[in-house]
Symmetry: C2
Subunit: 410 residues, 2 copies
Amino acid sequence: MALIVQKYGGTSVASLEKIQQVARKVCKTHSEGNDIVVVVSAMSGETDRLIGLAQKLSKSPSEREMDMLMSSGERVSAALLAITLNELGTAAQSFTGRQIGMITDAVHMKARIQRITGEKLKEALTDHNVCVVAGFQGIDEKTGNVTTLGRGGSDTSAVAIAVAVKADLCEIYTDVGGVYTTDPKVVPNARKIDIISFDEMLEMASLGAKVLQVRSVEFGKKYNMPIRVKSTFEEGKGTLVTAEQKEMESVVVSAVAFARDQAKITLVGVPDKPGIAARIFNAVAEATINVDMIIQNTSAGGLTDLSFTIPKAELLKTKGLLSDTVSKVGAKKLQTDENIGKVSIIGVGMKSHSGVAAKAFSALAEGGINIMMISTSEIKVSCVVSNDELDKAVKILHDSFDLGKPVKKQ
Amino acid sequence: MALIVQKYGGTSVASLEKIQQVARKVCKTHSEGNDIVVVVSAMSGETDRLIGLAQKLSKSPSEREMDMLMSSGERVSAALLAITLNELGTAAQSFTGRQIGMITDAVHMKARIQRITGEKLKEALTDHNVCVVAGFQGIDEKTGNVTTLGRGGSDTSAVAIAVAVKADLCEIYTDVGGVYTTDPKVVPNARKIDIISFDEMLEMASLGAKVLQVRSVEFGKKYNMPIRVKSTFEEGKGTLVTAEQKEMESVVVSAVAFARDQAKITLVGVPDKPGIAARIFNAVAEATINVDMIIQNTSAGGLTDLSFTIPKAELLKTKGLLSDTVSKVGAKKLQTDENIGKVSIIGVGMKSHSGVAAKAFSALAEGGINIMMISTSEIKVSCVVSNDELDKAVKILHDSFDLGKPVKKQ
């Protein structure tokens, strides 16, 4: 008898048949004596449909209104799943973000969870009812406005709810079997990982692996809530994301992550004076654009070049923001490169093994791949390469660190 | 400078183009110096789509869940209209039933409004923002559950909100030009009525005219809130529904209403003893089936026949409910007739004119139409006739009382 939070994404509730399949899974776990909170996303495609409607009506729709609009999708899937569970004889109730007391800040479309009061959930769980919660949404306490947590926010809803109700486990059901050493579409012998640390998963999510939303992993780490990622449609144990354990260190590199569709912006001939970088990045940060790597070359003749990467989708907006700044800080010009991608190796074992970065650079060089930018942390090494060479770089690194081979039990 | 509540139904917000058309209307009224609360229904077809999904998943979906499901449709249209208004330069905010404090009882799918706190509306109106409210929905204060007001409930939302914010007028925009003397599809020379009393409108709405929901008219009458019914798509003053005025009495009959798809149930050979009718109708009332006319023939040999009409859609359910009761009360059998309709003449002037009913019966008799059941009130006469003869009956009565001719100004 455990208390389990299960989250089902949009592809898992994409049709009535799939909702019925999810309902049968929930009923089975419930009939085994577990209490369950189910968190659902909107039916696959629904959020995009709603955004499409709004964009036809306005170039920059009010974010408050977008949240009102988008939050309707999860209400529909939550109600439909509760209806199906009741039909199967398992007492269930649906709840909105407001009803479970999901209190967020007031930043529409990117709200952050502040706390979850959760009284209604606790009441319903006391009666052993299945609670079906509309993910992705919360409420700004001061104004009563509906907020949403940003793309993939249902993962974060689920882990935060698991923490709030003191669940034993948070299961994230998705359309893949777990977390892989890299994307099997790019590297066919990519291997499912049985267990991975929060820190590694955080890096992977940040660096482009789409299986879990970054903030959900942060929550899991902060409150030590184990997360199991598994497939809605196939049997299998999936991947357990959990606190770091000793045996994890024996694996030097756990996975290769990558992100396509990056863009590089270079400000050429920037005067090398204190405060210039701050002015540039303040302008970008105010628009909540996520700057990734930043590189500043050493100065020559009092001028330097400053490069940074951003998601390609933000390129136009960023160029617009910087057009003023470029002349204000006295830079010569602004160059952009839309043809870049990022590949990263990740592993907690890296901390205790030297030469991992050097091995990666050598492998890429042997493959004839030019590295444009590098950034490293204790547990990852990231390289920016040409987008055209990205797949090849992923394969090379996956092979170099033997990620396709089963992990040796020690 | 007035405070106006405008309600737009599902056909008025059926597409993005129509939402833009509505937005332009709202902007115009706003730019003329008026404060506006707009109440919207779900986009035409959306509520039926959602009900269809639920019915595929369950024969009798939980009514609590149905309310959660259906209330999403109005959120979408409210957000889309607010987005469009902002795009046109008119500051607007959307609000859910909860956000405006629309407190109802706990009867899901047929909730009744208890009160409207309306603080958020008043705040937004103080800033002269247009408030766009999701109609049809409220909240049960005790549980925090979402409730809906039943089909056409957005009319009721609108009038109740108009009362709560002390509006000068409630405008109900729809796909027809106003209230007609009868349905122009049946009688081509049906005439638009300029002004009509709450009582007449109440009878018309109860007796089958679909232009306004009965409860919205009850609200209007109770709080003396004038309601103007007009077309979203055409110019024109529409019809003003208001308190009775002296000149109204000069018109004996104002309109002919009718309802198709009625059914008659007859319990044959019921023992003529006290309490029998109560037992029968308690059984029906508990299922909240709306019994319309009831007729009990005089007793012969201690047995009587008891007939009543209901909407045809409720026939199966009612027969099921009564199957036990028939034998318990000792009735001989239960007969049904699905081929009936109801035609009614309505007018406050009837009170002060005798012979109106007689004139109607004569006209129908001359047309060769058999009257099966009759019921009357101070301001209406209703007759049940064969469904096949219903259109003919409507035409005959419309002609007899000269409703196609312009009203004489007196």
